[in-house]
Symmetry: C2
């Protein structure tokens, strides 16, 4: 079913192996291939549904090579998750910083959510590796303890920055309302990233799991209205529900 180790097709779109490169380059390239393959496979079947052999075959190397580069399966999984998280956070924070600067004192819920979500949805739609990574995040976010811990470790900082903006937009909103609101956003976002295809079938074709542009057109406004309503009031004139 998979492309196997045919020398013709370089696995997962990586460069073909061994082509006049230094050892350091070769090392980095192989590690990246293993992480890519793990990301791809873990995103479909979860931690326990993937064997090191699956990953090794996807890359076209022997299983023992994975042990050469990674302590164990769990460490590999955590590195898969950790690899792209910093860029996710940087982009989120950069977008929110920019928004805050441009908004001056007039921060709105919708504005903050647009900054947080739109950049993010674009990133997670910007290539196969990001689509896989998003689907993996979707799985992890709905998994019990271990998943919650991984989400904490990797994504909390930027999320707290969002909540800070929301707090400025809704100064009278309770902490519980703010964080439950974020919880709803988080569930909706990670289900989107998971691209399970459920909404496609359910909607009889009106929606397409892979149409992130459609999500961007709706999600920030949808959630902003929720925050504004639940928190009981918008922030003064020119409120957030536009």
């Amino acid at each position: 079913m998979q492309q196997g180790k045919s020398a013709e097709t370089p696995p997962r779109g990586q460069a073909p192996k061994r082509k006049r490169v230094t050892k350091a380059q070769q090392r980095e390239a192989t590690i990246a291939q293993i992480l890519d393959a793990g990301e791809y496979l873990f995103s479909r079947r979860g931690f326990f549904g993937v064997t090191l052999k699956d990953i090794a075959e996807e890359v076209g190397v022997h299983t023992s090579l994975i042990h050469y580069y990674f302590d164990d399966k769990e460490a590999l999984f955590e590195q898969v998750v950790a690899r792209r998280a910093p860029l996710v956070n940087e982009k989120r924070v950069a977008a929110m910083d920019r928004y805050e600067r441009e908004a001056g004192g007039d921060i709105t819920v919708a504005g903050a959510l647009h900054a947080f979500l739109d950049t993010n949805l674009e990133l997670y739609d910007s290539g196969e590796e990001w689509r896989n990574y998003g689907a993996l995040a979707g799985l992890i976010n709905n998994s019990s303890e271990w998943g919650a811990r991984l989400m904490d470790d990797n994504f909390d900082s930027a999320v707290l920055r969002l909540v800070e903006l929301l707090r400025k937009a809704l100064p009278d909103c309770s902490e519980a309302d703010l964080f439950w609101g974020y919880h709803f956003v988080s569930g909706a976002l990670t289900l989107t990233l998971a691209r399970t295809g459920r909404i496609d079938k359910l909607s009889g074709g009106a929606c397409d799991s892979n149409d992130f542009a459609a999500v961007r057109q709706r999600m920030a406004e949808f959630m902003a209205a929720g925050f504004t309503t639940v928190c009981g009031r918008s922030k003064g004139p020119g409120g957030a529900t536009g």
Copy 2:
């Protein structure tokens, strides 16, 4: 770590085995225990993270007994999912039917969502078995193909009934807006059911993953505001955002 096979502690709250019962009763009891144990374990670690031996030990029987009652591991998993789905759907539909009857012609988005969500959140908080089942649904909903198919097979009917009500409340809303809205609701709901504990830590204690009453107080109104805003207009006087 688990309670093992101590004869004193009946596993998963089931009745102790073999107590003057007919074979049919014994059969049903054992099957129920296996499904309960599977539900519990699958909800924490997913399909691949649980072995038949894990389940057998949790129940206190031999692994081969699971094969006696179930074709294979996959069939067991599907039966775990299928077992409680009819009751979920019945309760959802009954609540929505009642709401529609009582509302007369004046169906609101918030009313429909309250009917769908509140009954559901209550059910999923009504005992350990329901908490486990909800967490399992949370996992499945964010899993790729197989998960989406299981959700379709088990939960579509009641969901389509909800969309029907929403369509009546928002007659000018596009199908895409309706179903994307449901997609957001679905993600938020299944993350809630998963009870991962993430929001507890993130909010510094302001929220508690297990406080479904707090979710009930917020979720329907939050989502109703989202639908109403994204669909562009509410349905005439006395609209839905109250």
